[in-house]
């Protein structure tokens, strides 16, 4: 069955024009997000995953610019519409939650103020209705005593509660797409489990699509339906979650999966991806991963690979993806 994506990103390129040069933070990213599904975007710091999110909403800082590509929401290209029309989409059709709720919430306004603001802006209701709606939302995201909490300032809440308030704010207009940018990174694991559970429940209830941006492969495995792996501003692998974890084809994905310490299996030694995450100002020529790749050949340093279809809904940006299969046979570490 061919489903139609709610949001699809096509060949998105976002560059930052800094005084040191052009930073190609996002350099050709494609993916689709489907209703009721979770798309995981995973990568290390500086790979462009957060910039992708900000580009979709067009809230980049002044140095950043979308130079190419399309962001289609129900067929409308968001990169082309007027700023004032875009404003009607932000917070209403696409909402976002950030990593650090402490800094993402305005310290001088109460939680209630900040939630009601979004409600009143997009739903044209009076203050009293908005307040009632905000209380309901807070209750829904599991904040105890919402009538009291609504008049509190962010610094009076714990980290977990703040993130719940952030979620309440993001959900206030029942968005079609919720972008969660490292939503639990700043939280403790037991709180992280609560928040992820909450997001799953709310996704079921609202039927929205979630874009889960994280560096944590565990979160991806447990929550995502499809996964985009990013490296140095590009998508290097795109597949559904089981395929990706069971049968990774890109050397980077494969390396990452072997580099993380895991609870579910015994590991004798972690795989080393050598070298460092490249500096976005000085990306290597050819395949961006080539200096760290153990399968690289001469071609990789010259030519940039394109995304290749290697299976059903499974694309990889690598010339020599078959080599990874050989490596799997070598059994570096145990792998289920």
């Amino acid at each position: 069955m061919e489903k139609k994506p709610v949001l699809s990103v096509k060949n998105l390129k976002t560059y930052f024009y800094t005084e040191d040069g052009i930073v190609k933070a996002v350099d050709g990213v494609d993916f689709d997000v489907y209703q009721g599904e979770t798309l995981g975007i995973v990568g290390e710091s500086g790979c462009g995953k957060s910039v992708t999110a900000l580009s979709i909403l067009r809230i980049l800082d002044e140095k950043g610019r979308i130079v190419e590509g399309q962001v289609l929401l129900d067929g409308v290209d968001l990169t082309k519409i007027e700023e004032q029309d875009m404003r009607k989409i932000r917070g209403k059709d696409i909402a976002i939650i950030f990593q650090e709720p402490m800094v993402a919430l305005n310290p001088v306004f109460t939680i209630g103020d900040q939630i009601m603001e979004a409600i009143m802006l997009h739903q044209k209701v009076d203050e009293k209705t908005a307040r009632n709606m905000a209380v309901d939302l807070l209750r829904k995201v599991g904040i105890p005593e919402p009538e009291k909490r609504i008049d509190q300032y962010p610094h009076e809440l714990s980290g977990g509660m703040r993130q719940r308030a952030m979620i309440a704010m993001a959900l206030s207009c029942k968005p079609k797409v919720l972008i969660a940018d490292e939503p639990t990174t700043a939280l403790d694991v037991t709180i992280q489990a609560q928040i992820m559970e909450l997001m799953k429940e709310l996704q079921k209830e609202y039927g929205m699509a979630i874009m889960l941006i994280t560096h944590d492969l565990g979160l991806i495995a447990e929550n995502a339906d499809r996964v985009v792996v990013m490296y140095a501003g590009k998508v290097v692998e795109y597949a559904d979650v089981k395929t990706l974890f069971n049968d990774p084809k890109h050397p980077y994905t494969w390396g990452l999966l072997h580099a993380i310490p895991r609870l579910d299996i015994e590991q004798t030694r972690l795989y080393n991806i050598p070298g460092v995450v490249p500096d976005p100002l000085h990306f290597p020529p050819g395949c961006k991963f080539n200096p760290r790749c153990e399968f690289k050949e001469e071609r990789c340093t010259r030519e940039e690979p394109q995304l290749i279809e290697v299976g059903e809904n499974h694309t990889v940006r690598c010339f020599f993806w078959q080599k990874v299969d050989e490596a799997k046979k070598r059994k570096v570490g145990e792998f289920v």
Binding site: N246, I260, R262, D264, L270, V276
Partner: protein, 387 residues
């Protein structure tokens, strides 16, 4: 195997000052009666969520914070009083040793009986007290307090730390050579500039950084490389115990495995003992031989790695394990979702500190504090219901 570090009943409270006169209105009970041992050559993992006191333990062990009470024995020597002002040190020695020895003497009758009744450090100090110091408190104190500077230096040399943040842990205005060479220079381990350079070069190469980089500044390195430099700084003193406080938490996934592997290799080469502090149970599992789980200033469970993972016995340990996402979509595990937030360490819950969030709490839990019990050899749990 012998214990290189023995911590007994360690307590660290921080005052909260408030009000008009900034009086102490409450105490943050960051660490509240913690005892454990670390054996030579092993890696002990200390795991817990933010606010459980794990970082405080590290800082207290290093004596960057003075302990509120408790005893820290390192390398068969009581080091608790090493960094106290003289008067406090004296009162500590009198309280901890002299009073105890005298009381025992009264009870047992003879000095030999007292000595024989004790073991370890206590026994050595008792012998010293009765023979060398001739039962005089003043003399005993002077004995223990002699050569204090030397002892402090020795302690500093033997216990080192690797910090979490690869950015703020290196002084941005110093070259790598000064950062790594500062320790050996302070401890006069090297003579002259040439030896120092050789030392720095060899330590840097140990951690996988070319010695040619020693004249660079920290900002010229990436996060992972900085962390290597931080490790080199600690290693340069050839310490016996290295405390790694969230040493890999701030690093990217691919860099993290490099550093973990490096630390394991270094442990082999240099016969190091690690106290590995982290909030990440998967990292702890990978690196540790023995694991201590903390919750709100207390140890709730401690066991050898295999025992802990085969048979997690404290409900908190189980919840923690189930909360960690597994990077394997084929496994659908039962998840324990804990209620609410971690309570404040200022007013920890009565009885068992975990009872407010525990899924198996009963009446007794809020009334009575569970004591550590050994449920199988080396596996200790502080829960009323652990079997």
């Amino acid at each position: 195997m012998s214990a290189i570090l023995k911590v007994e009943n360690l307590v660290k409270y921080f005052p909260i000052r408030a009000g008009v006169f900034k009086r102490v209105v409450a105490w943050i009970k960051a660490v509240d009666g913690v005892s454990f041992e670390i054996n030579e050559g092993e890696t002990v993992g200390l795991v817990g969520e933010s606010g459980c006191g794990k970082t405080t333990i590290g800082m207290v062990l290093l004596r960057l914070y003075e302990p509120t009470s408790g005893r820290i024995i390192f390398d068969n020597e009581d080091t608790t009083y090493f960094f106290m002002p003289a008067l406090r040190a004296r009162s500590y020695i009198k309280r901890t040793y002299v009073d105890k020895f005298n009381a025992l003497l009264k009870e047992l009758g003879s000095k030999d009986a007292v000595v024989n009744a004790l073991e370890g450090v206590d026994r050595r100090y008792a012998e010293m007290f009765f023979s060398e110091a001739k039962s005089s408190t003043g003399k005993f104190c002077s004995l223990l307090l002699s050569n204090m500077d030397e002892k402090r230096k020795q302690f500093r040399k033997n216990v080192q730390i690797v910090f979490q943040d690869p950015y703020s842990s290196l002084n941005p205005r110093l070259r790598i050579k000064s950062i790594v060479g500062e320790g050996p220079a302070v401890h006069k381990m090297v003579k002259g500039e040439k030896e120092l350079i050789n030392k720095v070069r060899s330590v840097l190469e140990d951690v996988g950084i070319s010695g040619d980089y020693m004249y660079r500044f920290p900002h010229e390195f990436s996060g992972g490389q900085r962390q290597r430099i931080g490790i080199a700084r600690a290693l340069a003193l050839s310490p016996k115990l290295v405390i790694a406080d969230e040493a890999v938490s701030a690093l990217d996934v691919s860099i993290r495995s490099q550093i973990i592997n490096l630390m394991k290799d270094l442990q082999h080469e240099h016969k190091l003992t690690y106290l590995f502090i982290s909030h990440d149970l998967s990292v702890i599992k990978y690196v540790s031989d023995r694991i201590i789980v903390m919750y709100l200033g207390k140890i709730v469970e401690t066991a050898a790695k295999k025992d802990l993972f085969d048979n997690p016995s404290h409900p908190y340990t189980r919840a923690l394990m189930s909360a960690i996402p597994i990077p394997n979509p084929n496994i659908k595990k039962e998840r324990i979702i804990l209620k609410g937030d971690v309570p404040s360490p200022v007013n920890p819950p009565s009885g068992c500190r975990f009872h407010t969030r525990c899924y198996m709490a009963q009446e007794i839990c809020s009334k009575e504090e569970p004591q550590m019990r050994e449920i199988s050899p080396g596996h200790w749990v502080a829960c009323h219901f652990a079997k």
